[in-house]
């Protein structure tokens, strides 16, 4: 029994978006929890729960995101035939980048990162932007298949129907720059980030 790539892609995208909603809400909740005074509701137990839920949600999403991207590639039949589809590729890459950075930060620094206000703000902002990028990629999928999206009801809409197309050489130059910069960051910068006790 086989299912089409498009159906499989939809299922994977739903898992990714569902997990990311949980991760984003909990990450933002962790930041807010550290800003507002401790109370009966805002206690340490809630903080620990939200931190673990955000980590679990983002890790799950990060596992399924490459599967969703690959199945989407297969469903697109190797074509980037419209600006919408081209932007779907780009927003998926942005989502992958933001979620990876979120998970790297949380795993390297541990739950203690929420105690540092600038880091907590950065982490929740990363989750928020990552979710926005993921939602955009998913909404473009809705536009392509059904001609409508939940984002249609919003008063704003990130660019999706026009694309800044890079020539092949420019895209691969950018990719080389990305590989080089991440290799340098992983070699020299990442070891400096250790668990915050």
């Amino acid at each position: 029994m086989m299912v089409g790539a498009a159906t499989f892609h939809t299922a994977m995208a739903e898992i990714v978006v569902g997990s990311m909603v949980l991760a984003t809400l909990c990450a933002i909740g962790c930041s807010i929890s550290r800003i507002i005074p401790t109370s009966e509701i805002n206690n340490e137990s809630l903080m620990v729960t939200m931190d673990r839920a955000s980590l679990a949600g983002s890790v799950l999403a990060l596992i399924f995101l490459p599967i969703a991207i690959l199945s989407g590639n297969i469903a697109a039949d190797g074509q980037a035939e419209s600006a919408l589809l081209y932007n779907k590729f780009v927003y998926s890459g942005l989502a992958l980048g933001f979620w990876s950075a979120f998970v790297i930060g949380r795993i390297r620094m541990g739950p203690g990162l929420w105690e540092e206000r600038p880091l907590a703000f950065l982490q929740s902002a990363t989750a928020g932007i990552a979710f926005l990028m993921t939602s955009m990629a998913s909404s473009i999928g809705g536009k392509l298949v059904r001609g409508e999206s939940l984002f249609d009801v919003l008063p704003f809409w990130l660019p999706s129907e026009t694309a800044s197309i890079l020539p092949l050489w420019a895209s691969f130059s950018l990719l080389t720059l990305g590989i080089t910069s991440s290799a340098l960051v992983f070699k020299f910068t990442l070891p400096k980030i250790v668990r915050i006790e």
Partner: protein, 358 residues
């Protein structure tokens, strides 16, 4: 209000929120479809209601077998919240094999410029709309039936409203010997790319000459253009090229072909040609590389930012006992109370030193 009540209210709101957007309020696209979408939920009496619109079919010209005929469908008194109305032209109401093609007709052009028997269009605020299909009549003469069906949304949001016209009889007459017309296998082009002024090919039959006139959609004064015969046979020329001006933006151009056999002329129905945007020139490998480049650059940038915001002071005030315990420090007789760290090449205070007292 307690927390349970708030959670309950949020859940109920979320469940009821999509109630006003059931089915496909954005439409389902043009296509070849049978009556009531071949037994879909729109045909289910429990899920549909009769539309209050009136539907009428008229023909634009006499129908000769194998010749083009314009079929006008006029819908009046329609009210739909989505402003989208789906219109079918059908050869029967069986629920299968209902398209005009299944009954000997051949679709040359639908009202949206394609060649489908089902189209979606905007319902104007006046509640009345007329759309035109151009079809080649069946090859066998006699009486042939056509129906028009519509479906649209409702203000209640939970029912599909549908309506079907009365049976419309088209009397197809035997074609007179040598009647000039459009070729059976010719399909009028739906679109031209914006700015494209290439010649338009027209295939005819039994024609010695053609004349073509065009006008922009909404105008009333057509302009004639010259036609060039491409391949002339013994008595006729059935392959023509005409130069119709390029269009830009969302302009639609209407054109009409008049076919001649000697002095005998047949005026064909008006045909519509839309303007398509230039083809997208993006490359899939460029998109993939672009995507992964952004992913890696974002990771690099954010990890650098995390390192920048990392509380560096924490490391300076760390208790160095663990470092000392886990390193191979060299205790020196000459510097009591200090340990030499060969890795960092520096002296570190010995936490175990108690001032020489045993």
């Amino acid at each position: 209000m307690n927390r349970s009540a708030i959670v309950f209210l949020i859940c109920i709101t979320l469940i009821l929120a999509p109630g006003s957007s059931v089915a496909n309020p954005g439409g389902n696209g043009d296509g070849d479809r049978d009556y009531s979408c071949g037994g879909s939920c729109h045909g289910d009496p429990a899920l549909s209601m009769p539309s209050d619109a009136t539907i009428e079919i008229t023909t634009g010209n006499e129908a000769f077998s194998g010749q083009a005929v314009a079929i006008h469908v006029t819908i009046e008194d329609i009210s739909t919240p989505s402003n989208i109305i789906g219109i079918f032209i059908l050869g029967s109401l069986n629920g299968n094999s209902d398209t005009p093609e299944d009954h000997g007709w051949h679709l040359i052009q639908d009202p949206n410029g394609g060649s489908s028997n089902y189209i979606e269009t905007k319902a104007p605020s006046s509640g009345s709309v007329t759309v035109t299909w151009v079809l080649l009549s069946p090859a066998n003469s006699g009486s042939h039936s056509l129906y028009a069906e519509i479906h649209h949304g409702s203000y209640a949001g939970d029912k599909a409203y549908s309506g079907v016209s009365e049976k419309f009889e088209v009397i197809v007459q035997d074609v007179p010997e040598g009647l000039p017309g459009l070729a059976n296998d010719w399909i009028a082009p739906s679109f031209r790319v914006s700015g494209d002024s290439s010649l338009l090919s027209i295939s005819t039959r039994n024609s010695t000459d053609i004349s073509v006139e065009w006008m922009l959609d909404g105008e009333w004064n057509p302009t004639s253009v010259e036609s060039v015969c491409i391949e002339e046979t013994e008595d006729f020329c059935n392959d023509w090229e005409v130069s119709i001006p390029a269009t830009m933006g969302e302009a639609n151009i209407l054109y009409r072909v008049t076919t001649y056999n000697g002095t005998f002329a047949v005026e064909q129905p008006w045909l519509k040609m839309g303007t398509a945007p230039p083809p997208f020139e993006g490359d899939v490998w460029s998109a993939r590389a672009h995507s992964f480049a952004f992913a890696l650059l974002i990771i690099s940038f954010l990890v650098t930012l995390q390192a920048r915001l990392y509380p560096s002071i924490e490391r300076d005030i760390l208790d160095q006992t663990q470092i000392v315990a886990s390193s191979e420090m060299i205790r020196s007789e000459e510097n009591p109370g200090w340990l030499w760290n060969p890795e960092s090449q520096e002296w570190i205070e010995d936490p175990e030193y108690n001032g020489g007292d045993e």
